[in-house]
Symmetry: C2
Subunit: 205 residues, 2 copies
DNA sequence: CGAGCGATTGAACCAGGTCAAACGGGGTGG
DNA sequence: CCACCCCGTTTGACCTGGTTCAATCGCTCG
């Protein structure tokens, strides 16, 4: 057990039915550690995860009174996020036990948390980085050699990244200039058009 | 049926097992409408919800291949978000049917989506508004007359709102000056201290 | 007491927002 | 077929809210 989950240790030491208490700033569990899922009965918990690429942990979500913490261990066996007490908080074990066949919902829950992290990341960092991340996210999951992305209207891209239409347009122009983005047909601009994407150049920008 | 869900209409018109297709920009369902849950089998869906306060709809999340859309109707009977096709996409009915007693997970899923919307909102708009929203969110749900909030360290508030520590500090100073925030004990500053909050003045700032 | 850390405050700078103008394509009506 | 309009996009010029850099303060702990 390398980075042992604190929640795990405490759980082993106390009756399972007793709530766990954490003070502000206290680590609840580490990403990658093993442990059990919990429900927040008081306070607020902060999640962090490693941004794709560098190994840095960054903010990925919140869990508040009634929310679950670490439900993904029921799927993956390990915590996907680091959890920290944002305010003093109390956790209770969840759900006691699991009926089999609740798989689908559980999977959905894990995906939902993943999506939160993605969306939060889309609103972090500089404009160019945000737009690149969004494009990356819009690439079809089945990655075939000539990568094509169907970009939504600038208006959408702006609202999702919390930038303005003008800024998004400038970033796209920049990417086009770099060759990271090529409109499929040589029409004006690329807003709302499918276009060819170079992952490498995108990452470099 | 006022703002009828498009998904509902289409569903009534086709075999239940057939996937629904939407073009870019097409409305999938309206917030508040009735309908069924779906799973995204292709493309990306955008969620919008009305920010607390004004009736404006604003970006609240994404659903990508494999994610669920509108799972909350199984709980609340109505869609909680407006869903729009961000890229051309395909939806399939989900989950076919529901075993009873999957309530807990379903509730968790709905909360998770709610949390995503909250977190996204914390990274929208001007600095003062973000900090105010965060403080509001940190107020204990059981609202008793002298509202006390236990504020996390500035470092956390900064990372959550995608601002800098300095900016958050300035906003808090501003709120203190306005009387929207009062340190419980008259110590220096209010970072990481519990303090009294005035909802009205907070909203005004 | 001194070191260290979080918070605060000031000053200068700049990334992105705002405002404005122009363009291109698609649709509509004459 | 053309004239016109509408809407999404692009680009430039300017402005500002927030970041950056730096100095100071206060508390806590060794």
């Amino acid at each position: 057990m390398l980075p042992t989950a604190i929640a795990t240790e405490q759980a082993a030491a106390v009756t399972l039915s007793a709530p766990l208490c954490f003070e502000r700033g206290q680590r609840i569990h580490e990403a990658g550690a093993m442990g059990f899922p919990w429900r927040v009965s008081q306070g607020v918990v902060r999640f962090d995860t490693t941004e794709a690429g560098n190994g840095e942990l960054s903010f990925a979500g919140l869990a508040m009174e009634g929310d679950l913490v670490g439900a993904e261990v029921l799927m993956f066996g390990r915590f996907a996020y680091r959890a920290t007490a944002l305010t003093a908080c109390q956790l209770v074990p969840w759900p006691g036990h699991l009926d089999k066949d609740e798989d689908k919902l559980l999977r959905a829950l894990a995906r939902s948390d993943q999506r939160t992290a993605d969306v939060v990341a889309l609103r972090s960092g500089q404009a160019m980085a945000r737009v690149c991340r969004l494009i990356e996210l819009l690439l079809p999951p089945s990655a075939t050699a000539p990568l094509k992305a169907e970009l939504p209207p600038l208006r959408d891209m702006a609202e999702i990244t919390a930038l303005t239409i003008e800024t998004v347009s400038r970033m796209l122009s920049g990417l086009r200039r770099l060759g990271a983005l090529e409109p499929e047909q040589e029409r004006r601009g690329n807003g709302g058009k499918t276009c060819l994407v170079s992952r490498e150049l995108l990452a470099a920008a």
